[in-house]
Amino acid sequence: MSAMLSNEKWEAVIGLEVHVQLATKSKAFSASAVQYGAAPNSLTDPTVLALPGSLPVFNEEGLRLAMRLGLALGCTIAKHSRFARKHYFYPDQPAGYQISQYDEPICAGGSVPILEDGVRKEIALTRIHLENDAGKNNHAGARSLVDLNRAGVALCEVVSEPVLRSATEAADYMRSLRQIVRFLGVSEGDMEKGHLRCDANVSIRPRGREAFGTRTELKNINSFKFVQQAIEHEIARQIRALEAGETIVQETRLWDADAGRSRSMRGKEEALDYRYFPDPDLPPLEVSDATIEQIRSELPELPLDARARLIALGLAAADAEQLSSERRLLAYYDATLASLGKSNAKLAANWVSGALLAELGRLGKSIGDSPLEPARLAGLLKLIADDTISGKIAKGILARMMESPDEAKDIVEREGLGQITDSSALEAIVDELLDNNPKQVQGYREGNQKLLGFFVGQVMKATGGKANPKMVNQLLRARLDT
């Protein structure tokens, strides 16, 4: 029996806990720098190492970023929240406990939007809380080496309600969350560097039943691909087990990306008792209404909101999606449009997401450091919009504007690149052309319509591409069709 068939009988229930690395310069509770790829144990201090007598002091920037994310996702910000210690022994956890939030998290509720067949859908959140990261154990044969560079890095854990229903939806959710945290500048959101790490709680139940089945927790799924694979694999495994008359064991499973399968890490009996209690080293976090409103007022438009706005301007869904996929790209587009006017939204979309990005790619630059500023691009696009130049000429000018501070208008004037829209000049060229090519004229008139292209090409060639193609077409047809 295939999993597909079974899926019509079974429904998956998925909740994700995504750990997002916050873009703070120093660690959550001490001054050590946060940096990727530094020499092992070079980014430590007494607090990170949990040396006796050291104390944590909270980095307020982490709080600001978590609140920014929470407000963007419509969470309720707790005016009073608290850190708690979560205890477990492991060499990558220097203090023997993680500093996290337990019963008083900074954010409650809220949702992450995803698109389902182009329609916005809200995935409800339980909470977002602050915590610090553990270090890394590097296993070398029988021995393990501990690298504490990552230990103490500020994270926020975004916990969804168990409302996701498929592996694809879970992956979409994670993608959307990544895009949002990058938009907000809350996290660099670099998957390669482990800035978003996911644990998934998965269970299945017969379709139509309300009660949840026994869930398993999948740990260590750190890419969109693995989220999808691991959850698909787990759903299939649970379906197979239930259909074979077995029961699901509540357990924690570790996703092995290399093997493409999960394995049991610990069962319910071995479940850790974290012995949470409020961290006495850290005073409660008190946040004023004024601070909340200040942060709220600084929120940018989120990707799906921008997407909807762009579609309303007349853009195709795919263009709107691309332009709203990254904050700086969207900002560039919006700035271009501000100079150009909304009536040319589509034109601007085509050029920003097409020629501009292609040129930047060729130069190895990103949109954020584009040498061609939005206002100058708008200047170029205006010349297209009012038929001063053709698209083809514009492409050449755009490439040159990447390397010079000139305005498009000046280039066009200086080099006489403006379209020939003077009909008498074009008429003369057309007449000459037809006189010199009687055979083709005859061919066209005998029904070979394709020859129109030949004539257009010849006119363009004769004018160095400057002829207005629309006018050329009209003139040719007027002459040939009579």
């Binding site: 007598g53 022994f89 012995r275």
Partner: protein
């Protein structure tokens, strides 16, 4: 013994600044006395001859050069070995940390150094500050200089014994449930536990983070004031440390007690208190009354729950704070490194003493899933009630007087069960539960010639009031000038 050693720390500081005594001379006198006598007492775990002399030389050089020197310039002090000292071994009195040389300096130690203090060495204590007699030191018991057959109190036993025996001019101890005040009482000293947050805990190896405070042990109120002025104040490395300005504590010592209201709580008297202790405490209060203070009877109804409340909360925090001693990064690693669980069990099994293990287990029990509400949370609620009792009381009175401990120093081995031992702290615990400042000072001796301590408590941040009372009392009495007959009296 050099007569210099019988001077108060404040007087020593004055003479050094005036160049009538050199810091080196003073330092050498203390080192010689330690070398000659501490083997009998056991107050030091480590004497830093070289470091102390270097600091003393530096002070002398500065004084000679006419440079301005700090308020503690050249004063030889010593530190409870729970305080982290850069490049000087720090053990917390535990085998698990034996040999650990800290790569950083605790904030208070840094303040002491910049104030010019000469640090003679590190003092004995109950392992991780868990104990009331110093019998739980993993290395050797420290004795009471008034009677070597008796305990000096704990956990800052070494800090009290060393000052009392003139093996340092002053010391720092730490107080989680009475660990400065009770040994100060047992050894006849002034011991001051500051308000929670008054002194940075950075560099204080945590026992119970919401209780621990560093404070001075000294022979007189003025010395304690001098020390507190140096160590108090905000610290960006301790989020629980208050940034309130530090008052002039030495100036407070000059005030009289006229009109001051002393509260006596009925819950802090009782049948378990030795008659000699009760009598001396009553006499001391009468003495303050004769100096112009007013006495009022008050009630602190919830303080009777102090002992169970404290032992639930403090052990819970201890079980968490001591999790870091896992053999991975520092201290003695034991067992099979290839089997993680084995390494943890062997390291912690061999490294921690029995009392520490008991408290870790108690705390672990209290924090178990499903029991949090019944134990930890309930205890926190009681803690709030106790703090409320004090808040109400301090609306009426300026200080609350009581015995520091129900008895004077007891003989080694006298407390047979942990509960018996814990009861030695019955009057000191509520102060830490409420985060108040508390002071103990000598107010007489019992028939065996052992010192008796009077405890004074005040509202948060009112250390001045405590020092004012103590200094006024010491102007009228001479108990605090008496020294034990140990190692040849000055």
């Amino acid at each position: 013994m050099s007569e210099l050693l019988s001077l108060s720390a404040s007087e020593q500081a004055r003479r050094i600044a005036e160049k009538t005594v050199s810091a080196t001379e003073l330092c050498d006198a203390y080192l010689a006395r330690i070398d000659a006598n501490d083997a009998d007492l056991g107050s030091y775990l480590r004497v830093d001859h070289e470091g102390a002399r270097a600091q003393a030389h530096a002070v002398d050089a500065a004084v000679c050069a006419g440079d301005s020197v700090g308020p503690l310039a050249g004063v030889p002090i010593a530190l409870k070995d729970l305080l982290v000292t850069e490049s000087l071994e720090t053990t917390a009195g535990s085998k698990i940390l034996e040999g650990w040389v800290p790569p950083y300096e605790g904030s208070v130690v840094r303040k002491l150094r910049s104030a010019g203090a000469v640090i003679l060495g590190k003092l004995n204590l109950d392992e991780f500050a868990m104990g009331s007699s110093n019998e739980h030191s993993a290395f050797r018991p420290c004795k009471n200089p008034w009677d070597l057959g008796r305990v000096p109190g704990g956990s800052s036993g070494g800090s009290a014994a060393a000052v009392s025996a003139s093996l340092c001019a002053m010391s720092l101890g730490t107080d989680t449930g009475g660990s400065i005040r009770q040994p100060a009482s047992f050894c006849g000293l002034v011991g001051l536990k500051p308000t929670y947050g008054r002194v940075s805990r950075h560099g204080l190896i945590a026992y119970a983070s919401s209780f621990d405070q560093i404070g001075p042990l000294a022979t007189c109120a003025e010395d304690a004031a001098l020390m507190l002025e140096v160590i108090a104040g905000g610290d960006i490395l301790d989020a629980t440390c208050s940034t309130e300005p530090v008052p002039a504590y030495q100036a407070a010592c000059k005030r009289d007690v006229k009109g001051l209201v002393i509260g006596i709580a009925k819950e802090m008297e009782g049948e378990d208190v030795d008659t000699a202790v009760s009598a001396a405490v009553a006499a001391a209060i009468a003495e303050l009354e004769s100096a112009g203070a007013e006495v009022r009877r008050i009630s602190l109804p919830h303080t009777r729950y102090s002992l169970p409340t404290y032992y639930l909360l403090a052990t819970a925090e201890a079980s968490s704070n001591l999790a870091r001693f896992d053999g991975v990064r520092y201290g003695k690693r034991k067992g099979n490194e290839e089997a993680l669980q084995n390494m943890y069990e062997k390291t912690r099994g061999a490294g921690f003493g029995a009392e520490v293990k008991t408290r870790i287990m108690l705390g672990t029990f209290a924090l178990r899933a499903g029991y949090y509400d019944a134990y930890y949370k309930k205890a926190q609620q009681v803690r709030t009630l106790i703090a409320d009792d004090f808040r109400k009381a301090f609306a009426e009175v300026d200080v609350i007087a009581s015995p520091t401990a129900p008895t004077t120093a007891f003989p080694f081995g006298a407390k047979k069960t942990p509960i018996d031992m814990y009861k030695a702290d019955v009057f000191t615990l509520s102060c830490n539960l409420a985060g108040l400042p508390g002071l103990s000072m000598n107010c007489g001796f019992d028939d065996s010639g052992m010192p008796i301590g009077l405890q004074l408590l005040a509202a948060p941040m009112q250390e001045e009031t405590l020092l004012q009372c103590a200094a006024a009392y010491q102007r009228q009495t001479d108990w605090h000038t008496r020294r034990p007959n140990f190692g040849g009296q000055p």
